[in-house]
Point group: none
Chain length 217, copies 4
Amino acid sequence: MSRRVKSIPSMVKNPRLVERRRRQIVLGACRLFIEKGFHKTTTREIAKACGLSIGTMYEYIQSKEDVLYLVCEYIHDELESRLKEAVVDTDSGRESLAKAVAQHFRVMGEMSDYVLFIYQETKSLPQEAMRYVLSKEEEITGIFEKILCKGIRDGTLRLDPSAAKLMAHNIMVMGQMWTFRRWALAKQYSLEEYTRYQTAWLLHDLTTEDTGGRENG
Amino acid sequence: MSRRVKSIPSMVKNPRLVERRRRQIVLGACRLFIEKGFHKTTTREIAKACGLSIGTMYEYIQSKEDVLYLVCEYIHDELESRLKEAVVDTDSGRESLAKAVAQHFRVMGEMSDYVLFIYQETKSLPQEAMRYVLSKEEEITGIFEKILCKGIRDGTLRLDPSAAKLMAHNIMVMGQMWTFRRWALAKQYSLEEYTRYQTAWLLHDLTTEDTGGRENG
Amino acid sequence: MSRRVKSIPSMVKNPRLVERRRRQIVLGACRLFIEKGFHKTTTREIAKACGLSIGTMYEYIQSKEDVLYLVCEYIHDELESRLKEAVVDTDSGRESLAKAVAQHFRVMGEMSDYVLFIYQETKSLPQEAMRYVLSKEEEITGIFEKILCKGIRDGTLRLDPSAAKLMAHNIMVMGQMWTFRRWALAKQYSLEEYTRYQTAWLLHDLTTEDTGGRENG
Amino acid sequence: MSRRVKSIPSMVKNPRLVERRRRQIVLGACRLFIEKGFHKTTTREIAKACGLSIGTMYEYIQSKEDVLYLVCEYIHDELESRLKEAVVDTDSGRESLAKAVAQHFRVMGEMSDYVLFIYQETKSLPQEAMRYVLSKEEEITGIFEKILCKGIRDGTLRLDPSAAKLMAHNIMVMGQMWTFRRWALAKQYSLEEYTRYQTAWLLHDLTTEDTGGRENG
DNA sequence: AATGAATGAGGATTCATTCAT
DNA sequence: TATGAATGAATCCTCATTCAT
């Protein structure tokens, strides 16, 4: 929940302008990074893509890695806000989960390339920036965790509370999986089918009695 | 099952030697790639790590990307053979699945770094090599698919046959997930707990009646 | 004696303002140049150090080299005026020399960093500016030359008149030497000892009979 | 006396070759540095001047500053060895001094540009390298100090022993002075006249009775 | 087969200076 | 007058690959 964003220093003072230019940079870079990957994209290409001169671009960032960070941050923000759209506090846990999962799959379908990119390039971030990006990922996962806990409390979901976090991660991955296995999955399933199967599995299980680590122990 | 390995040309004729040298290269490079990533590792470093001179190394490969390919291939072979160890044809589908899943989680736990690497750097392969690596991934997934189908046939597993492939992918990802979410999961779960929860979920579901895409449709 | 200062054009008309701003620039830049050297100091840093915006600063100069020139000029002016403080026309040559030399050493001790800077960066000036700075150096040397000539005329100093200019340079260098050899000299001598030894040598020689180029010829 | 040269790492293993190439680099760079100064010389220019490709050059150095160091080292070595040529152990202190001073002035006359360069660019060296270069300068100064001490011991020179080091520095500077004040001195004196006057002054003083710091104390 | 020196295109970044506001 | 955002040529350095020995 902490809004402590790693802030990147800029030579330019006007914060409004900084924000606008950085948005330009992010949008330009994002497209390129997804197309060619971070390492194979040159700073010159980024500058061109965002309509700034190389010098101007460097007024708003300190290094190419900063651009990567900005892009990751942007994608995560986008993912988070779009997921939150679907979460309404008045719903029951089960309803809330169903909606959130549906939205999650929808967003993953739409932002497929972005999520794949995050998966592949987060590791290229410097330490600190990476930590921030990962914490953001955890935060988003936390949305599902909270919903699951609510469902446990209001009795609409059946789940060992100590497995709630794990299940939240499972849900996250189940959505993201479309992005990094699409090359194989799409041969047989449409996104809709995929979503339907996965959702069914998920909700069926969470609605059925007796789950969670005791059978195999 | 296609053994059509993309073969990399070598200047050296003696195939025995080629194989030995390439093994050297793979082992040296693998360590470096995992430590620093493909792009941040230089060919000089690889040569040093595998105890060959730069010149000699280039007698056995044509480009740095070839090394990446060799490493990916090596990892996949390793993964596949270790998974296959646990698969015995005489078991029932359910037994076979239980064993394969257990082994899968075990291997993922042990080869964590390797799998993460595959996730992050496959994209850096040139087209053709990437296709091969992906086909290999599909092949491994196929092992689970086959087990699932067997279980469906012999009645020990309950699953919509058209969801078998999807479930196979789910199993694959569930194992790999430990590699790319360990940073978050390990805060709360040990690998053993993780394995237990996930396995339980999986098998519980596949043993329970009525799964697969109808509820939500 | 020539007051033909190379004048640097300014966009600003008000000469009072120009002078004030340039003083700001010189003081800010001087500190930075001494700390980091001319080349490693950026115009942005200079602007910041003198409390002006980059744009404003450039209203008062035409190039970074202009700043260097202004700083050199400032240092030379400072050196000259402080040296002249100690020169009184009514003294005999010998007395005058003793006082001037003492003051010279004192000033060199105090302005050590400045003098060192002049030694190291004058060469970075453009042709014309360099010529001016050198002429200024000659002018200061001229002060000693005049004193020596006076001493020759009034009989209080013994020196081949044709060696007067050379001896003036020697005196100059003897003072400046503390600035560029302090790293070695200060290990063994304090500034006071240094001054005493050097002054003694100098005056002893100029008071003794028969010096100057005949013995060795 | 310590021959502990700061050794610069090279990618190339053959030490003979390293030495040869570095000599090329030094000679090429030296000329350029003297012409244009260190900062205004680009690495490409250096590479061209020494007949190596930029890549090859960087096999033998690690940074542009390394080249500066090599050049400074080269100049100092040259200066030292040429000065030592003139020093013979069997001479008396006085004779030895006369010869050394003469040689010193001769060398300074010939290597004028080199010495000036050392004066102006030593400061651009990184810490450690600078320390080495300065220690070398002290070492050369030590040659004169030893001669002076010898002269004091054998009675051929009259000098307060505690001023010996200072006088050694004076001699060094007196020679170098031609390099950084030639622009003014040469207007009136030829190098020969200059040498004659300075030598006379120096030796006259050291041969006369009673010098050194007591008169003014 | 093995070696490692040579190559140079290409990349990230800096910074003096300009100019519209 | 003052400002500071914009510019892009210029710079140092890296590194995959080649090829003579």
